[in-house]
């Protein structure tokens, strides 16, 4: 009956889709019927056949020995990487010395004035408060070290990203070549390439900066290319008709028109670079990240938080200021007030110099020790209380340790055993079917090849273990994220309250919540899942809420006029119409969960995450790099399986 009452177009669309899916699946079944018996006859084993693996231990071990033996003599290092490394050290040092010379007051005033010029008085006040808070927490010097590192890393990332983006934006061929490269760079977990970078550059700042650039450059490249491609055709034609050369066209029309995307790219790059600040501390980057990492060693959540808060504050300030720069109307300032704009900047510069000199003369260059606030103790007390009272023995609902135990036995174990118990070819078939139904044969092929590569690398079993954790974490994230997102979309007040919470969760270094997570859920895979959920939740909530809010108001209005209850409105109008946003949330959830698999390795998640951490800790390139590559393959596979075709085509447009 339902099909009869439903309006015709709604039936036909899924009908067609279903028809096409059935055809794809039938074709796949046919191929499987031919290939599976063959494969099974040749390599009859449940798990990936040993005959189809390649052992990289020896070549990778040799490569790492060669690097260590030749690092201080081979020309490649003396005249190649050596210069890169030196340049990075010089630049970071220069910025650091300037920051120190300005003193705490000079830096705070300069930051506030920049925020004022770019984004107005409110953000200026916020910026000043944020910087003062960093000092109050006793983190002034580490904050400056991180800032120096960030300035250099962001500048290099933006330069690299802009060049790649220009190439991809101007040439279709470059775009085709670069897109998979950028895709890979983005799903690559940062920990996986710390090891090769360290091997070449050694522990310290150069390696940290370069690792950050690899991580932070892709969004800049993507958004630059997007901006250039999205430039208004009519404007370009008009410029062309005026006889401008290609270079002039680029400089006077295409780049200015792409301003918004460029600034968004800068914003994204800064965020990514900051999130790398802590991970890079593992290889000796110093600064705030190192403080967080050292606090972790003495199981001191309070001290970790004291170093984590400045990172959050820096992130929020930089996000709002660059965001405001992107939203601002570029014409307004320059055109009718060129002079006043310049005068404003000059006044800001002068004020900074005056303050810096005054503080220097007063001999108050360093942050006064007396002005620090010790938050570690109360925080630790709070954490202790929480774990004392929630860990076990809570009446009726049971303690968090019990939940973790049940989650492990009832969800994670069956999922892992199920995946590992499947014959290898059936896993490939499932991946192919999912990817093909949701995308094209190309996406299916990529997904299957990525999965097969995992087998070839010889880490089939641990990869499926990791996959089971990722699936469980994504499921939990989506349930919580959709529920919160729907609530946020329906209540403005709730969304306002939620925003700072999401900011904190999104930018707080993951190392800070490692210990609370273990204290609540014990050691094992359950805390790994919990850490992943905490990390991935904010993005899912944001995308869901935004998607629901953008649903055509007319559709909602008509549903309301037909007397739909609010539950019906959500189920039958908002959710179906927001489907693309929800799919994007799913995709982002998967990518983000995978990004913290390594953090899971630090709390007992085992599998690939542990292998990567092991590789880094033991300088074992073979274990670390292979596990890292397997995570990348898992990421590619999951990305393809959850990425609907519509988004792909839209992105390329």
């Amino acid at each position: 009956m339902a099909t009869v009452t439903a309006p015709a177009p709604r039936v036909s669309l899924p009908g067609v889709l279903k028809h096409r899916s059935v055809a794809k699946l039938a074709l796949l079944a046919l191929a499987a019927a031919v290939l599976v018996p063959l494969a099974n006859a040749q390599w009859a084993s449940g798990s990936w056949p040993a005959a189809l693996t390649v052992d990289l231990t020896e070549p990778l071990g040799r490569a790492s020995d060669w690097i260590i033996d030749n690092r201080d003599s081979h020309p490649l290092f003396l005249y190649g990487f050596g210069y890169v490394s030196n340049a990075v050290v010089l630049c970071v040092r220069a910025v650091y010395l300037v920051l120190l010379a300005a003193g705490w007051a000079g830096v705070t005033v300069a930051a506030a004035l920049i925020a004022w010029r770019v984004a107005g008085v409110r953000l200026a006040a916020g910026t000043a408060v944020a910087f003062l808070a960093c000092g109050l927490l006793g983190m002034w010097i580490p904050t400056m070290q991180t800032l120096a590192l960030m300035v250099v890393a962001v500048l290099v990332s933006v330069a690299v990203g802009a060049v790649l983006g220009l190439a991809a934006g101007l040439s279709d061929r470059m775009d085709r070549i670069l897109r998979p490269v950028l895709d890979t760079m983005q799903v690559l977990p940062a920990f996986a390439y710390l090891l090769p970078v360290v091997l070449i550059f050694g522990i310290g700042v150069p390696a940290a900066v370069l690792a950050t650039v690899v991580y932070a450059a892709p969004p800049m490249a993507r958004l630059t290319s997007l901006g250039l491609r999205g430039a208004d055709k009519e404007v370009l034609e008009a410029v062309e008709s005026l006889g401008a050369t290609a270079r002039q066209r680029l400089l006077t029309a295409r780049i200015p028109l792409a301003r918004k995307e460029l600034l968004l790219g800068l914003n994204q790059t800064i965020m990514m670079a900051l999130s790398m600040a802590v991970i890079a501390s593992v290889i000796g980057a110093g600064g705030l990240g190192d403080r967080v990492y050292q606090a972790l060693a003495s199981v001191d959540v309070g001290a970790a938080l004291a170093a984590g808060i400045p990172i959050v504050l820096l992130a929020v300030v930089l996000d709002r200021v660059t965001g405001a720069a992107g939203d601002g109307d570029p014409g307004a300032g320059t055109r009718h007030g060129g002079l006043s704009r310049r005068a404003g900047w000059a006044a800001a510069l002068a004020a900074t110099v005056v303050v810096a000199v005054a503080v220097r003369l007063a001999g108050r260059l360093d942050w006064p020790d007396a002005w620090t606030l010790n938050i570690a103790e109360p925080v630790n007390r709070a954490v202790d209380w929480m774990t004392d009272h929630l860990y076990s023995g809570v009446p009726v609902i049971g303690g968090t340790a019990d939940w973790a135990g049940h989650f492990t036995t009832w969800v994670l174990d069956p999922l892992r055993d199920g995946l590992q118990g499947l014959p290898w070819w059936s896993v490939l078939l499932i991946v192919a079917a999912l990817a093909w139904v949701i995308g094209t044969w190309r996406t299916a092929l990529t997904a299957v090849l990525a999965m097969a590569a995992i087998g070839v690398l010889g880490v089939w079993k641990p990869s499926l273990d990791t996959l089971s954790q990722v699936l469980a974490a994504v499921a939990v994230t989506l349930v919580l994220g959709f529920a919160t997102g729907i609530a946020a979309a329906r209540s403005d007040r709730f969304e306002r309250l939620l925003r700072p919470v999401l900011d904190v969760f999104q930018t707080m270094p993951q190392f800070v919540y490692l210990i609370p997570v273990v204290a609540l859920f014990g050691v094992g895979r359950a805390p790994a899942v919990a850490a992943a959920v905490v990390y991935a939740l904010p993005a899912v909530v944001r995308i869901t809420a935004q998607g629901l809010r953008q649903v055509d108001p007319a559709a909602l209005e008509s549903a309301r006029s037909l007397g739909a209850s609010s539950g019906q409105q959500i189920r039958q109008v908002q959710l179906p119409l927001a489907r693309p946003a929800l799919l994007l949330a799913l995709n982002q959830g998967v990518v983000l969960v995978l990004a913290v698999v390594i953090i899971g390795g630090l709390v007992g998640g085992g599998a690939l995450g542990y292998d990567v951490v092991f590789g880094l800790a033991q300088g074992d390139l073979a274990t670390g790099l292979v596990a890292g590559a397997a995570i990348v393959c898992l990421g590619l596979m999951l990305d393809r399986v959850t990425q609907p075709t519509e988004r792909r085509t839209k992105k390329g447009a």
Binding site: G202, L296, S298, A376, V603, G606
Partner: protein, 318 residues
């Protein structure tokens, strides 16, 4: 355009001049944060366990307050720390638990690292159960009886077997081979970091639950969670040579200091001081406990020890 090209060329040549026209030797490259504002400085590597933090805290305190150095610390895992030491990124490791492969490569072959003598503390790795459990079941302290208790050590993670908890991936461990070769009905669960391992042990102890864990002495946690060692087959020289066939316990290791070779030669007072630095297990535990349990900053904890043990450290300075 001309101007911009000139600027680029000028910039590039300035960079070349700054970096020196010859070879750029990465092995002689200090941290950009070192020696800021004209201070004499050196860099010490800190490992992730608190005992290592205690060594560094006291050394740092004395270097800063008695010898006028500025000390930077970086936290690095053990093996990468050797690598950093050979490159001069750090000047000294104060507590090493024995890395024969690295010793061969850097100390004997490449001669970029020099031994800095004993730390004075002897380290020992073993398997431990909480003392409250060992008192109830005295026979648990021999590996031969462990299988009897496997069910009591089981957790959700150990898949029906008993759980043997291992810690950070950077630590030396033969536990997987041991469980296998001694036919134990146990599953090694890697906590993945010492922080996670300690947190879990404290949670178990709060509830007086039995647990079996890889652990090591000297360690401050023994004061908070008293633990008794489980006897493993005795260690004999070379019984752990083949990692697959290990069936013996762990050795007692006198912990060592190592210095970067150039620093040992030209490091002046700081290098001489670090070579003489030598204290006892009790000293180290005192400082560790202040850091990890009383949550003092490493500096406060070091100051407290330094104030109470003047005679000891005065000898390191002479």
């Amino acid at each position: 355009m001309r101007i911009r090209t000139t600027a680029t060329v000028a910039g590039a040549s300035a960079l070349l001049l700054l970096t020196g026209c010859g070879a750029a030797d990465m092995t002689k490259q200090a941290s950009p944060f070192a020696n800021a504002q004209g201070a004499k400085s050196l860099t010490l590597s800190v490992q992730s366990w608190v005992g290592a933090q205690a060594n560094v805290a006291v050394a740092q305190y004395l270097l800063e307050h008695e010898l006028g150095y500025r000390v930077d610390t970086v936290q690095v895992d053990e093996v990468p720390a050797w690598d950093a030491l050979s490159q001069g990124r750090v000047d000294a490791i104060l507590e090493d638990w024995g890395h024969p492969e690295q010793e061969q490569r850097y100390v004997k072959d490449k001669k970029t690292i020099t031994p800095g003598g004993d730390l004075g503390v002897t380290g020992h790795i073993g398997w431990f159960v909480p003392t409250y459990f060992a008192k109830q079941h005295p026979d648990v302290t021999n590996w031969k009886n462990l299988n009897k208790y496997a069910a009591q050590f089981a957790t959700a993670e150990s898949g029906g077997k008993g759980q043997l908890m291992d810690g950070s991936p950077s630590y030396v461990t033969n536990d997987k081979a041991l469980v296998n070769n001694l036919d134990l009905d146990f599953q090694v669960v890697f906590a993945g970091s010492e922080a996670a391992q300690i947190t879990q042990m404290r949670q178990f102890a709060k509830e007086k639950k039995p647990f079996l864990t890889y652990w090591y002495a000297p360690q401050w946690l023994f004061k908070k969670v008293p633990m008794t060692e489980v006897k493993l087959p005795a260690y004999k020289e070379g019984c752990d040579a083949d990692p697959e066939k290990v069936a013996c316990g762990y050795p007692h290791t006198p912990l060592q200091k190592y210095l970067n070779a150039d620093f040992a030669k030209d490091g002046g007072k700081a290098a001489a001081f670090l070579k003489k630095f030598r204290w006892t297990t009790e000293d180290q535990n005192e400082v560790s406990l202040a850091i990890a349990d009383q949550k003092m900053t490493p500096e406060e904890a070091a100051k407290q020890w330094v104030d109470g043990h003047a005679s000891k450290w005065k000898a390191w300075l002479s």
